[in-house]
């Protein structure tokens, strides 16, 4: 999972979203079509070509107070239309660590 933090050229191969971390608490968020941020991947705006991706990213970067470090991440769309993370890194970001936490209650 090469870190996507240094995204220079924007070229997407399939459906993608813009994801970032919410500024005040750091949690994982996704850019929505309503120009906001949501913690639910199901509410993310889906982009399907590089122009759309570029536009969504530019708009996300401009909303610097809401969330930080936005980048484009791949997703998969299930048969039922459900949005799923496109790689292991994004899966871990969405569902949390794979290891169990020592003090999880």
């Amino acid at each position: 999972m090469t870190s996507p933090l240094e995204q220079k050229k924007i070229k997407i191969a399939g459906p993608s979203v813009v994801t970032a971390n919410r500024t005040w608490d750091g949690i994982v968020v996704y850019r929505t079509a309503a120009k906001g941020w949501s913690a639910e991947l199901s509410e993310a705006a889906i982009v399907r070509n590089s122009d759309e991706a570029r536009a969504l990213l530019a708009e996300s970067i401009a909303d610097d107070v809401g969330a930080i470090g936005p980048y484009i991440a791949p997703v998969q769309i299930g048969e039922d239309g459900k949005i799923l993370p496109g790689n292991l890194r994004e899966q871990i970001r969405r569902t949390g660590v794979t290891i169990g936490q020592p003090a999880q209650v």
Partner: protein, 551 residues
């Protein structure tokens, strides 16, 4: 223990209110992330995959019980009830909210803890031997010098904007527990023929993308000259260090490119200009720092108390004692290492409850002092031998008596892809699986001393290059793949490991390690021949054959 003076306390408090203001301005949008990033990094705040991460310094690994309780409090109140001890005598909290960070910093400042010098291109937390001041045979307490350097370099303008981060480690024992040979500057405290204190100075060590073992730049620098000598090194680095390329910016690259001879000539020239300046250290300054370190009022105790003699009949106690208890410089006392490597657990994590309970135990059995070591374990530095059985029982109840210190399950691992935004692959689940495979402590003892180090990317936070077995996670076509090296070591005979062959998949790593261990058990000449010695004697070939014969 060390008592901070007024200057430090004021500085720490000022930093907290400054940061509170910065966070407020960030949240209101007055500061952009670009502007704020450097400010948060100066206060130990990174962004990870799931949240902000907050790194707190534990200078030279020494903690008082009120400080450990404050860390437990931060874990409980602002995080998810645990903290992660790192290889550089820091603790990291993985789930902190930016909006609450100023409060967390303030709570820590009350007990003299801060996050300065835990990130950014400055002088980092000066680390030392976690057994400093108590190890038998130690020349003198290296923390006095760590503290001197800490004071001199904290917020020093010349050291705050270096080409890259800068790490110093100090040891004063023959056996190097501070891994000085993989630091930018390593200092080995020694005495000259006249009995004067000074240092062998090593420079240019480091791991990451381009690993190097540090080279000796000067065999003896007198204690009084150590600040000017370090400053001379830093000036040469500041002058020539590559600021244009982050991968070439560390001092190790400069030392390598100039060659140690040329580099040392440059340093020598620079040093002659400044060595007789105000940087020369007066004896009073050292004595003042020395006087701030207090040592317990040890009792006169027998070498072999009855309590210990009786407990020796219990094989479980003995298994723990053999691996966790080390000799102390004072008769009747021991140094007790506390394993943060339970079977199936993430290496280096401790819960708030464990930290609090450990603070209580330290008050009861270790004169209120705890140490943090680079192996991601803790230690109680002054335990009376007669108290060992009682301490063991108490630790066992807390899940802190895993008898695996220095064994194959005492694994060093970085956070990897479960937490870290730079990661290529997961580290912690590999460690967890290995601790399950080798959970049988008899087997682990049979194998003997064997260090496994795991990093989730080439930044090498898990020191994989110097693991006896090193595991590096990389990515190949979207999949996690692990490269295995053997023969590395981090101590006084530091060496980089050798790759044994093509990378293996996530599910295969533990099998490969088992193969390597089986090969070792079959190849060693006698039980006392450690893994390292067998690798040294035979090279990597037999291990390679064993691992790849069936793959």
């Amino acid at each position: 223990m060390y008592a901070y003076d007024e200057i430090d306390r004021t500085l720490v408090n000022e930093r907290v209110s400054e940061f509170r203001d910065q966070v407020k301005r960030r949240l209101s949008g007055e500061l952009t992330e670009d502007e704020f990033k450097i400010l948060r990094l100066q206060n130990g705040v990174y962004l990870q995959l799931h949240a902000y991460m907050f790194r707190v310094a534990i200078p030279y690994g020494t903690l008082a019980t009120n400080q450990l309780r404050a860390l437990a409090h931060v874990a409980r109140k602002y995080d998810r009830g645990y903290g992660h001890f790192t290889t550089r005598q820091n603790i990291q909290f993985n789930w902190i909210k930016l909006a609450e960070l100023p409060d967390a910093l303030e709570d820590l400042a009350k007990v003299g803890i801060h996050a300065m010098q835990t990130s950014g291109n400055n002088m980092r937390n000066v680390t030392s031997d976690q057994w400093a001041g108590v190890a038998p045979g130690e020349i003198e307490d290296p923390r006095i010098w760590s503290e001197l350097i800490r004071q001199h370099t904290t917020l020093h303008p010349e050291f705050s904007f270096l080409p890259r981060k800068f790490k110093i480690a100090i040891t004063a024992s023959d056996h190097d527990r501070a891994a000085i040979r993989i630091h930018d500057i390593g200092l080995r405290l020694i005495k000259n023929e006249k009995g004067e204190t000074g240092f062998e100075v090593l420079v240019g060590g480091g791991l990451g993308r381009t690993p190097f073992i540090a080279k000796t730049i000067k065999h003896f620098v007198h204690g009084r000259d150590i600040l000017s000598y370090i400053e001379a090194i830093l000036r040469v680095y500041n002058q020539y260090g590559r600021r244009d390329n982050i991968y070439k910016a560390r001092i190790k690259i400069l030392v390598h490119e100039l060659g140690i001879e040329k580099f040392s000539r440059e340093v020598e020239d620079e040093w002659q200009h400044i060595r007789n300046s105000s940087l020369q250290i007066d004896d009073e300054v050292i004595e003042d720092i020395r006087s701030r370190f207090t040592y317990p009022a040890y009792e006169k105790l027998p070498h072999m108390p009855d309590e210990l003699r009786q407990a020796a009949a219990d094989p479980d106690f003995e298994a723990w004692r053999k691996n966790s208890v080390a000799p102390h410089k004072v008769q009747g006392y021991s140094i007790v290492t506390i394993s943060l490597k339970p079977t199936g657990g993430p290496p280096g994590d401790a819960t708030a409850e464990q930290m609090d309970a450990l603070a209580d135990l330290a008050d009861k059995y270790s004169f209120g002092e705890i140490r943090v070591g680079h192996e991601q374990n803790l230690a109680l530095p002054h335990v009376a031998k007669r108290d060992l059985p009682a301490l063991w029982k108490a630790l066992d109840k807390l899940g802190l008596a895993t008898p695996n210190v220095n064994l194959i399950t005492d694994i060093i691992a970085c956070p990897g892809l479960d937490y870290c935004s730079l990661a290529n692959a997961r580290s912690i689940p590999i460690a967890q699986e290995l601790t399950r495979r080798f959970a049988n402590h008899e087997l682990a003892n049979l194998i003997g001393r064997l260090h496994i180090n795991i990093s989730g990317c080439i930044n090498a936070c898990g020191h994989h290059h110097v693991g006896h077995i090193g595991i590096l996670g990389v990515e190949k076509n979207g999949e996690e793949v692990y490269q295995i090296t053997i023969g590395g070591r981090a101590d006084e005979n530091a060496a980089l490991g050798t790759l044994i062959g093509p990378g293996v998949k996530f599910d295969e790593v533990a099998d490969v390690v088992e193969d390597i261990v089986e090969a070792y058990l079959a190849l060693r000449e006698r039980p006392e021949e450690l893994f390292m010695d067998t690798v040294k004697r035979l090279g990597v070939e037999p291990f390679k054959e064993r691992v790849y014969a069936t793959r």
